[in-house]
Symmetry: C3
Subunit: 139 residues, 3 copies
């Protein structure tokens, strides 16, 4: 079976955010799949998706600190028309990546105990972000 | 339905290049798929694929500037036999990633308005690059 | 056909390790697939998977040197309870990424000549690492 949904994530401030539950609520057919794959694509070039530690807010804050140090606003950027947070956001988006593919087992993503889905919001005011979720598997 | 093709991308200079049209032309069955996934793998370890902004050449030039600053040729590399651009190319390739998976909807990749496929050429003279495209979906 | 396996990789020291054969041995149905996809997810937030050069140990050592320089233990981390290698490991894991999707052709992953699967072990004592392998294709 195939299912595909467009999920509008609530707007969030710049930073790394745990959105596992919000994403999975957008794929109601998940429970019907015994074995399969769930693919997620964020349809933006200044926000991204990754998997990481799902327990400590410290980890998400440290991600933001590190990514700002590694892709700084003060740099030899030439694409500056859309503000100082724009070009760094593009680079950060490709570093973390625009998509995730998760194995599905017995109606749930087969993640590790400590893994959760992060929305990485790289703009100061990114607004709502759209994710296309594609589920495929056998019942 | 499944389809799989090997696409030879035209050689390009070191840098980030928009190749959306060239890649999609290599998958003629795309129009037959109502819902599915398109997977792309670059079969090289010194070039990579990412999604990013499809409009401004400035963005692609700034990507190249940033990646050269973050993975410099002047570094404590030990693998130097194949030239100063070789080992940085390997690291850049893993940072950006060797593959992309794109949702397909109504015969087209369901990308955001501003998303395009980048070939990231990390070598000075990388030559032609091969991409394996695997399309899977229902008609 | 679908097949899914949980593969326990042998423990390895911190660094980048070639695990292509160990991973593929965990998916015995691979030889039955004419065209398809093999998806791998590492179920951890301090280790990762990537594709890179499969010949020279120098390359893998240089990866470790670079990643330690770019995500240093000495940094403004706040999440430090689990040791100085922990928070850098989380960031490195997202940089390299938690998963790989490989095209399958005639019973084998359709990789480039020089491509191999790396286990990127970012902790000093990470122990055994679990990978969920999901194979899907037609025979």
């Amino acid at each position: 079976m195939w299912a595909q949904h467009r999920i509008e994530l609530a707007p969030r401030p710049r930073g790394f955010h745990l959105v596992t539950d919000e994403v999975l609520r957008g794929v109601p057919e998940l429970g019907e799949v015994r074995v399969g794959l769930l693919h997620l694509l964020i349809q933006h070039t200044s926000a991204s998706l990754t998997l990481n530690e799902n327990a400590s807010p410290d980890v998400r804050r440290d991600f933001e600190t590190w990514v700002n140090a590694s892709v700084p606003e003060e740099f030899a950027w030439t694409h500056t028309l859309e503000g100082p947070d724009d070009m760094p956001a593009h680079v950060k988006a490709s570093l973390m990546g625009p998509s995730l593919t998760l194995p599905v087992r017995d109606g749930r993503p087969a993640l590790g105990t400590w893994q959760g889905i992060y929305l990485c919001e790289h703009r100061d005011r990114g607004g709502s972000r759209a994710v296309v979720a594609t589920l495929h598997g056998e019942g």
